[in-house]
């Protein structure tokens, strides 16, 4: 079996956000797992995520970043709960002024991919505000 990171990273590189899906119990699964954490069957495939969700919380890293991330500062991290009722940690696109002042807890957000080179460098899902 291929590493479960591969289909996920490959989709991110094509500008797509995918989720695991359990065919046995029709459950979306995120983060990807070796077996379905609900019914424990192995019948897991991949589905396209809606990309829409709400921002549960976010942080803006300015100092004390892990090694290799200093050049990225400041950068924002957010926990997003998707419409499929699963959640993940991602990066947030800055506002026009380079800050994140327009973001708030429970704000609607949507997946907005980074360029393939960036995803190759850092396999992360990026989100932006979704002014519904």
């Amino acid at each position: 079996m291929a590493a479960i990171t591969e289909p996920y990273y490959e989709a991110l590189g094509r500008g797509r956000l995918v989720l695991q899906h359990c065919k046995a119990c029709d459950q979306a699964v995120m983060y990807p797992r070796h077996r379905c954490p609900v019914c424990h069957e192995r019948d897991l495939g991949w589905i396209s995520a809606s990309g829409r969700g709400v921002l549960l919380s976010f942080a803006v890293q300015r100092f004390g970043a892990p090694s290799g991330f200093d050049a990225d500062t400041p950068y924002a991290l957010g926990v997003v709960r998707l419409a499929e009722d699963v959640q993940l940690l991602g990066r947030l696109w800055p506002d026009a002024d380079g800050e994140w002042n327009a973001y708030a807890c429970d704000a609607p957000v949507e997946f907005h991919p980074a360029a393939p080179e960036e995803v190759l460098r850092r396999p992360v899902a990026w989100f932006r505000l979704n002014p519904r």
């Binding site: 479960i4 990171t5 983060y31 990807p32 549960l56 919380s57 976010f58 942080a59 803006v60 890293q61 300015r62 100092f63 004390g64 970043a65 892990p66 090694s67 991330f69 990225d72 950068y75 991290l77 926990v79 709960r81 959640q87 993940l88 940690l89 991602g90 990066r91 994140w100 708030a104 807890c105 429970d106 850092r122 396999p123 992360v124």
Partner: protein
């Protein structure tokens, strides 16, 4: 048929602690041996009475941690050929709670007579950058979150932001949590910041590290060492006027990675505390003190609310009103907590636990001893606040 013998209830009878802070000349193994000897003497036992060693991990060095795993302490303490078991347990910041439950169970089941719990950490002397990187492998999934650049301060910031949004707590109120802990630390000769006052203005003037957290709201890594001795209640009764029993415990592992926590402002505390209070037969209103994991202000506020020690959404406001400060309604983290006594890694929770035992034994010293403290609520949490562990302790007098 005769009735089964009553289980031997576990009793805390000895404690020892080294001051927390930066002590580059203090060796890791030397610190462990020093607190071990002091705690066993404090318990009124001989070293050879110890049959079980439960070791709390250090995080500053994989080699030093390997020494814990592979029984080096047994040789250092002269217990080779005598010790029945020496084992390291690890669940990050909740390790001491899990270790105490394990010790009590071993004693109750007759697998151990006298248990020595040992902890030492050298975070304060270790390179900060290396420790930040090491922590990104402690509770942050390398496949799904590490590439985002998540740091532990950002984990604290994600929790703080959510707590502030749902509670309406202001930046001043969050800063006041740090100030209250500093007031306690000023009364504790073992605290890293015993000599440095802190004001809300100073906190709010410090630079943003990971919004909404500012520099003075992030814990400072420290060296430290703690030892605890547990024995059976019968033995405690034979030789001690006062000891401490475990009235109840509870726990809830709510997630592994922060990205999977459904309620960042609640975590596992309500589930864990309900279990513990039910077992103890008493409630939050009966607590005389609370010693609860506090690597960030919001982490402590959320825990106090889940433990029923503050109404939901009010904990930070109550800190600002002085309710949890020296002289306040309920003394909280009377050693200064991780935020002001020093973050000794896994040991931060161990120091809080030792402080609870010390207070209940009436040995916290005149400056910060809570008169008549008989019941303590202790809470710990590991990794990305993956679990909420509760120990309810009470004083027993012969």
């Amino acid at each position: 048929m005769t009735a089964p013998a009553p289980m031997a209830e576990a009793a805390f009878v000895g404690i020892a602690e080294l001051p927390s802070g930066r002590y580059p000349d203090r060796s890791f193994m030397g610190s462990l041996v020093d607190v071990a000897v002091e705690a066993v003497r404090d318990a009124g036992l001989s070293m050879t009475d110890i049959d079980t060693l439960l070791l709390i991990p250090c995080l500053h060095s994989a080699a030093d941690q390997a020494d814990l795993v592979f029984s080096r302490v047994v040789e250092e303490l002269g217990l080779a050929g005598r010790a029945k078991s020496s084992v390291m347990l690890h669940s990050g910041g909740s390790t001491s709670d899990n270790t105490v439950r394990t010790a009590a169970s071993l004693i109750a089941a007759g697998h151990a007579r006298n248990v020595l719990i040992l902890q030492a950490e050298k975070w304060g002397s270790a390179p900060v950058g290396e420790m930040i990187d090491m922590l990104t492998a402690n509770g942050i999934p390398r496949e799904w979150e590490k590439a985002s650049g998540l740091s532990f301060n950002a984990v604290g910031a994600l929790i703080a932001r959510r707590y502030m949004a749902v509670s309406g707590a202001t930046a001043e109120e969050m800063a006041s949590v740090c100030v209250a802990l500093r007031e306690w630390a000023r009364l504790n000769p073992n605290a890293m910041y015993r000599d440095r006052a802190l004001t809300v203005a100073q906190v709010l003037d410090s630079r943003l590290v990971s919004d909404p957290l500012r520099a003075f709201e992030c814990p400072m890594m420290a060296d430290g060492a703690v030892a605890l001795v547990l024995t059976g209640a019968e033995r405690a009764r034979a030789s001690h006027e006062t000891w401490v029993r475990i009235a109840g415990s509870g726990g809830c592992v709510s997630h592994y990675s922060i990205g999977q926590e459904p309620d960042l402002a609640v975590l596992g505390w309500p589930t864990a505390s309900a279990q513990a209070y039910e077992q103890a037969g008493w409630g939050p209103g009966d607590a005389d003190i609370a010693e609860v994991y506090d690597s960030y202000a919001a982490v402590l506020a959320i825990a106090l609310e889940g433990l029923g020690l503050a109404p939901v959404g009010d904990a930070a406001r109550m800190f600002a009103a002085g309710d949890f400060s020296p002289g306040g309604r309920l003394p909280v983290n009377t050693n200064g907590g991780l935020l002001s006594a020093g973050h000794t890694g896994v040991g931060g929770g161990t120091a809080l636990l030792a402080e609870a035992v010390r207070q209940l034994l009436g040995r916290a010293g005149s400056a910060r001893q809570i008169e008549g403290a008989a019941r303590a609520v202790c809470g710990g949490s590991g990794g990305t606040y993956m679990d909420s562990q509760v120990l309810l302790l009470e004083r027993v007098s012969r």
